[in-house]
């Protein structure tokens, strides 16, 4: 039988290929290499260098690239970028329209004239279940290609690779030391290490005769197999020929769970065992249901020879080879969409015509001695299998537009508020006919819930999704169908991705054919958070405080100090609320880069908040027997324990007063909305007047004086929070200002102060909003160009993102100034300079701003995007409905 099967297989393959002329159904791919470079969250990587056999291109603003090549027997595609680990793929044919994902590196600076150690401490290692590698070099061990020593500060990049998710260069090829045999590596862990000049980009190597010490943790999947390799070589990847080469020797350190040893060459480094005698390969035929260009990922499944890496092959023809696999080993096959999502309906036929009960196949016997480990087409020495997709599957995308769907889904943008959010659905693979589906919540009693609406263009003003289910007809050709969702007011998520949309065939009770997990991410009363929400929030703050480079915490702290200095736009002026809304948004988005499930929760002082002012959260009141201020009390396990303000006093300790902050604040801060007492929403006017001054007895004036100012003093008379020049050093600042912003949002909701649609244009007529004209007038409404106070008018830019400066010192026209001239006693020890760069583009494509933008007062008002969902800011409050 076996003989017959092998005789029949080529015929079956031939028939399949001949009967279904795949290429005639697909647009002809452009010649050469093209596609997109993204990071491992799907965001484009701009200005990456793509090199194919010496021809070079760079990725554009959307990460795209194109590179024409001449016909060659083998191509080595390498993609490099200073912030990421190198990526290398080896192929026999050009690969158009591919997405190449780069692993972000931990980047730091070192002084090569002294001994140093770098540690990969990226927060996302935790998410990947990896431990970070550590690398040490003695002094003066780095030289450039000419042997000249590295001087000054050197840029260091280190990235422990997630081999289980396809990271790692090349195809694990290795050649025996005598050069006669090819083999493959079985990896126990890999790391990318690179040193370069911070401006010229010149790369450095280890000085000949010297070496560095590498501690490379064992991959989780390989921990059980270390016993077979208590010592193993370190290998480095040579991009010139695509082979791994020995770079040193390592021994397993059981205490650290890592290989430790010396290396004399920098690149991507591996601890591996080389195999020369048991390689196998698969000849993979694609059914027409699978698009050419899809990727095949191969995971070790069970028993047999284990390997840590997960080889990935681009299937660019009807017949493909997956090679350098361990022989007689069960492997799990995954076919990825162009956006790197795994098809859930893959059927593996082994042999063709015999579907397996799951996606696991055995790689078959080893190739005979002398056979190529990468045989030429039609791969007759490899074991043949066939892949196809079965039944209907629905793919759902959140925060995307049908006019410009992303090439691949970005799981970091699956977050919604009460505001309408655009979403897409389609058949995962084209089918014979249109398919009717109904979208529902998975279980309304669990996690966050969603509401649905059919898409309309343009989306009507002041409208959100309200239906509990939605029927869609998905076209047979797999094109996208837009729809709209929103978080159901009153049921926000508690945990990340706990709101699940389910697609059912034909009816709400029909067969489940797809789902999508997302989060109704809402700013909540911090006193009511679950322990999990609180801890995620605190860990995000800790990681933000420890972030180096980019927009880091001390930079934010310093921006508030400078904004509060001369020409203060942020306080006691009309822009008080809008400036702080932009500031909070900036911080919240940084926290969400660390943990997308975190929102900037608020301290509601209309009631006692004992859970907030506790040792396990923002800190309980401290006790200093001889002073009225003290370090707040944190429990040992609190991520805020040991918080360092980076300010040159108190030894960096936080300080607050010693009052019982958890007591009921009634009477100290004016309530927001109260059935009996005077409250903030009693005002009708927002505040700024047509002449651009701050109207006394308006909402914005009173919220600052009667709510904001006493709140700063409540826990912090004498402490950091009491002074604008240092208040942002205390994480409590952000909970306090989230409350202020919530008060504004609530006022906007009650008094309909989100703008007025007039003739299709959003306007904000004074005095309910800002004046639209921005006239340069004095409070007495007398034209006087010398008076203009930036931030008083609707179209005014907000500092520092508007990059303005100047104005006569001490006059109302003066702008905030930069640290170089600001002086003062509250300058952080690390002295970061606040850049005058625009407000960064939103990570979510459906939110403001689409591109780096100078924020204006007008941008901050319609935070829900009531007049255009694309202008929404992406946050909401648990008790302020749409």
């Amino acid at each position: 039988m076996i003989v017959i099967r092998f005789m029949l297989l080529p015929l079956v393959v031939l028939l399949l290929t001949a009967c279904r002329p795949r290429k005639s159904e697909q647009p002809e791919p452009p010649p050469g290499f093209s596609g997109w470079i993204s990071d491992d969250t799907g965001r484009p990587v701009v200005d990456a260098t793509i090199d194919v056999n010496g021809k070079v291109a760079r990725s554009g603003p959307d990460g795209s690239f194109a590179l024409a090549v001449t016909r060659q027997p083998q191509y080595i595609l390498s993609v490099t970028h200073p912030d990421h680990a190198d990526l290398v793929h080896i192929t026999r044919s050009p690969l158009p329209k591919q997405v190449w994902k780069l692993a972000r590196a931990h980047v730091t600076r070192v002084d090569p004239s002294t001994p140093f150690t770098i540690v990969d401490e990226r927060p996302d290692l935790d998410r990947k279940g990896l431990e970070g590698a550590t690398f040490s070099l003695p002094a003066n061990a780095l030289v450039d290609a000419q042997g000249a020593p590295a001087t000054g500060t050197v840029r260091a990049a280190i990235a422990t690779l997630d081999l289980a998710n396809g990271e790692g260069p090349g195809d694990w090829a290795v050649r025996s030391e005598d050069g006669t045999r090819d083999g493959y590596l079985v990896s126990y862990g890999a790391v990318f290490i690179q040193f370069s000049h911070p401006t010229s980009g010149i790369k450095y190597q280890i000085r000949p005769g010297m070496s560095g010490q590498l501690v490379l943790p064992v991959l989780p999947s390989m921990r059980a197999h270390v016993g077979a390799a208590t010592s193993a070589p370190f290998w480095y990847f040579d991009v010139k020929d695509g082979y791994w080469k020995k770079a040193g020797a390592a021994v397993f350190d059981a205490a650290l769970g890592a290989y430790r040893g010396s290396i004399d060459h920098l690149s991507t480094l591996n601890t591996d065992i080389a195999k020369f005698d048991n390689a196998a390969c698969l000849a993979v035929t694609l059914d027409p249901s699978i698009a050419l260009g899809s990727k095949l990922r191969i995971r070790y499944h069970s028993d047999g020879t284990p390997f840590g890496q997960v080889p990935t092959f681009v299937m660019d023809a009807t017949l493909n080879a997956a090679y350098r696999l361990p022989a007689l080993t069960n492997v799990l096959l995954e076919v990825l969409t162009a956006s790197d999502e795994v098809y859930g309906n893959l059927v593996v036929e082994d042999p063709a015509g015999t579907p397996l009960v799951n996606d696991v196949v055995n790689t078959g016997p080893a190739l005979a001695p002398g056979d190529s480990l990468w045989p030429p087409s039609p791969f007759t020495t490899c074991k043949p299998i066939l892949l196809r997709l079965e039944t209907t599957q629905v793919e759902l995308r959140i925060n995307e537009l049908s006019s410009a769907p992303r090439l691949r889904d970005d799981p970091t943008d699956d977050y919604v508020t009460w505001a309408p959010t655009f979403a897409l659905a389609r058949l995962a693979a084209p089918g014979p006919s249109d398919v009717d589906v109904v979208l529902t919540n998975d279980d309304p009693n669990l996690g966050g819930n969603l509401r649905f609406a059919a898409h309309q263009s343009p989306w009507p003003v002041d409208t959100t999704a309200t239906a509990t289910t939605l029927s869609l007809t998905l076209p047979a050709d797999g094109s996208w169908v837009p729809f709209v969702i929103a978080g159901e007011f009153g049921t926000p998520s508690i945990n990340d991705k706990d709101a699940i949309i389910v697609a059912h065939l034909d009816s709400a009770n029909g067969t489940k054919v797809g789902d999508k997990a997302l989060m109704v991410r809402i700013r909540k009363n911090a006193n009511d958070l679950s322990a999990s929400e609180r801890d995620r929030f605190l860990f995000a703050w800790k990681n933000f405080r420890n972030k180096i480079g980019g927009l880091h915490y001390v930079l934010v702290q310093e921006a508030h100090r400078l904004a509060s200095s001369a020409g203060d736009e942020a306080h006691m002026q009309p822009a008080f609320l809008s400036w702080h809304r932009a500031f909070l948004l900036l911080v919240e988005r940084e926290l969400q880069r660390i943990d997308p499930s975190v929102a900037l929760h608020y301290w509601d002082w209309d009631a006692a908040a004992p859970n907030v002012f506790s040792a396990d959260f923002i800190g309980a009141a401290g006790n200093n027997p001889v002073d009225s201020v003290a370090e707040p009390v944190f429990s040992s396990a609190n991520p805020l324990n040991g918080w360092n303000t980076d300010l040159p006093f108190n030894g960096g300790e936080l300080r607050r007063n010693e009052d019982d902050h958890a007591r009921d604040p009634a009477g100290a801060m004016k309530p927001l909305d109260h059935p009996v007492d005077p409250s903030l929403i009693d005002y009708d006017d927002y505040g700024p007047t047509s002449s651009g001054v701050f109207a006394v007895n308006s909402f914005s004036d009173d919220v600052e004086k009667s709510s904001h100012n006493p709140a700063h003093g409540w826990p912090c008379g004498g402490g950091h929070l009491a002074f604008p020049s240092r208040s942002a050093a205390d994480p409590l600042f952000y909970l306090l200002h989230s409350q202020i912003d919530r008060q504004w949002a609530y006022f906007q909701r009650v008094h309909a102060r989100l703008g007025v649609a007039s003739g299709g244009v959003l306007t904000f007529p004074a005095p309910e909003h800002y004046d639209n004209t921005g006239a340069w007038n004095t409070p007495g409404n007398v034209a006087d160009p010398s008076f203009r106070q930036q931030g008083s008018f609707l179209e005014d830019g907000l500092w520092p993102w508007d990059a303005t400066s100047g104005g006569a010192p001490g006059t109302v026209g003066e702008r905030p100034i930069n640290q170089a001239t600001a002086g003062g006693t509250n300058i952080p020890v690390s002295m970061p300079l606040v850049p005058s760069t625009p407000f960064p583009a939103s990570l979510q494509p459906n939110l403001w701003p689409a591109l780096d933008t100078v924020p204006l007062n007008r941008h901050m008002i319609d935070y829900l995007g009531k007049f255009n969902p694309l202008d929404g800011l992406g946050f909401g409050y648990d008790d302020v409905s749409y």
């Binding site: 150690t117 540690v119 401490e121 290692l125 935790d126 990896l130 431990e131 970070g132 550590t134 501690v215 650290l256 769970g257 860990f539 800790k542 420890n546 509060s564 203060d568 306080h571 006691m572 209309d606 009631a607 200093n624 001889v626 002073d627 201020v629 370090e631 429990s635 040992s636 396990a637 991520p639 324990n641 040991g642 918080w643 360092n644 040159p648 006093f649 030894g651 300790e653 007063n657 009634a666 009477g667 004016k670 309530p671 109260h674 059935p675 009996v676 005077p678 004086k705 009667s706 100012n709 006493p710 700063h712 003093g713 409540w714 008379g717 004498g718 402490g719 009491a722 002074f723 208040s727």
Partner: protein
């Protein structure tokens, strides 16, 4: 002994006040606006009623909630009334909103030596300081600073202390210089030594090392503790501080303060902090402080996997060892258990070692 009617009235006010609180905080029950108004009316009338005993009026102040304009005017009147008890006057100002009338009245009292006693003057300085530090017009800030500076030489130690606290927190050089000079002199200090050092610590420890050094071995443990914290940033005092922190003959107060400071400044902190944690002869509070400050250090300073593992092992022993209760009832073992969980989350090496 209090008269019966006073106790009865006090009970009514307290009951109304707590009912009010319950209505607001636990909003499951429908809000009873009439009951709220009535409770607030009773509390307001009681507080403003000069005929009521002081204790009753003090208790009623908690029920004022957020006053209306009429009540604010009445509160101002009470606050400015020299015939009123000074604690009542202070409460009236504390319950008043911050506005021009409030600040003008307070500054006037502070400028009038004959108006009010020490409790009122010190309390008003504290109140103004707490309310106005955030954002003030420069002219008003100057007036407040002037008023506070005038109280640096007040005949009352309580008022002087409040004035120094308010001004040093606001980084007022004149107040800081006065403290530095007084500590260098070593006598005739305007405020207690320990408080003076604590305020210099607030102003910036590195600026005042030379001034504070002589007080590291002061006979008063409070003074010694404050000095130890300041001097943790002094490399020349480091060895002596470590000796004090690790010696069982040092007062615990001083050891705790020294550990707090050293954890932020001394790169070798782990060597003795972990030893203190593991030493069963040490008090629970010292072992807890060593654990807590070491955990804080690991949160925000770079550390090697070896250090993380050594610390985690010491934490594990505290978590699994005999029950340790600190002086304030803190269960050191319970805190250690939670900490071990977070160390697992933060450090891969710890997660692997203590996976179970």
């Amino acid at each position: 002994m209090r008269p019966h009617y006073e106790i009865a009235f006090l009970s009514v006010v307290l009951a109304l006040s707590s009912a009010l609180h319950a209505v607001l905080v636990h909003a499951q029950a429908p809000f009873d606006a009439d009951a709220y108004r009535e409770a607030k009316r009773v509390a307001t009338e009681t507080f403003l009623d000069r005929t009521k005993p002081k204790t009753v009026r003090v208790a009623a102040a908690n029920g004022l909630r957020y006053p209306d304009d009429k009540t604010f005017a009445a509160l101002l009147s009470v606050g400015n009334d020299r015939r009123e008890d000074e604690e009542i006057r202070l409460l009236a100002f504390q319950r008043h909103r911050y506005d021009d009338e409030y600040i003008e009245s307070v500054l006037k009292i502070l400028a009038t030596a004959s108006d009010g006693g020490a409790i009122l003057r010190a309390g008003l300085i504290d109140d103004v300081s707490q309310r106005t530090t955030f954002k003030l017009p420069p002219e008003l800030r100057a007036r407040i600073v002037t008023a506070f500076r005038a109280r640096l030489t007040d005949r009352s130690p309580l008022v002087r202390l409040s004035a120094f606290r308010a001004l040093v927190a606001a980084q007022d050089l004149q107040a800081v210089d006065l403290l530095v000079e007084a500590l260098r002199r070593g006598r005739n200090l305007p405020i207690p030594k320990a408080s003076a050092i604590a305020l210099l610590d607030l102003d910036g420890p590195t600026k005042h090392i030379a001034t504070v050094r002589p007080y590291l071995h002061d006979e008063d443990p409070q003074v010694q503790a404050q000095a130890a914290h300041v001097l943790s940033s002094d490399p020349d005092s480091r060895a002596e501080l470590v000796r004090l922190a690790t010696s069982t003959s040092t007062p615990e107060l001083v050891r705790v303060a020294a550990l707090r400071g050293l954890s932020r400044e001394d790169e070798s902190f782990e060597t003795y902090a972990i030893a203190l944690m593991r030493n069963p002869e040490e008090t629970p509070d010292v072992r807890h402080q060593a654990m807590k400050t070491m955990a804080g250090r690991l949160n925000y300073e770079k550390s090697s996997p070896e250090t993380q593992l050594r610390f985690a092992e010491a934490v594990r022993r505290l978590a699994e060892g005999p029950r340790l209760l600190g002086a304030k009832g803190l269960d050191v073992g319970e805190e250690a258990k939670k900490l071990l969980g977070n160390l697992r989350r933060s450090f891969p090496a710890v997660r692997k070692r203590y996976a179970q």
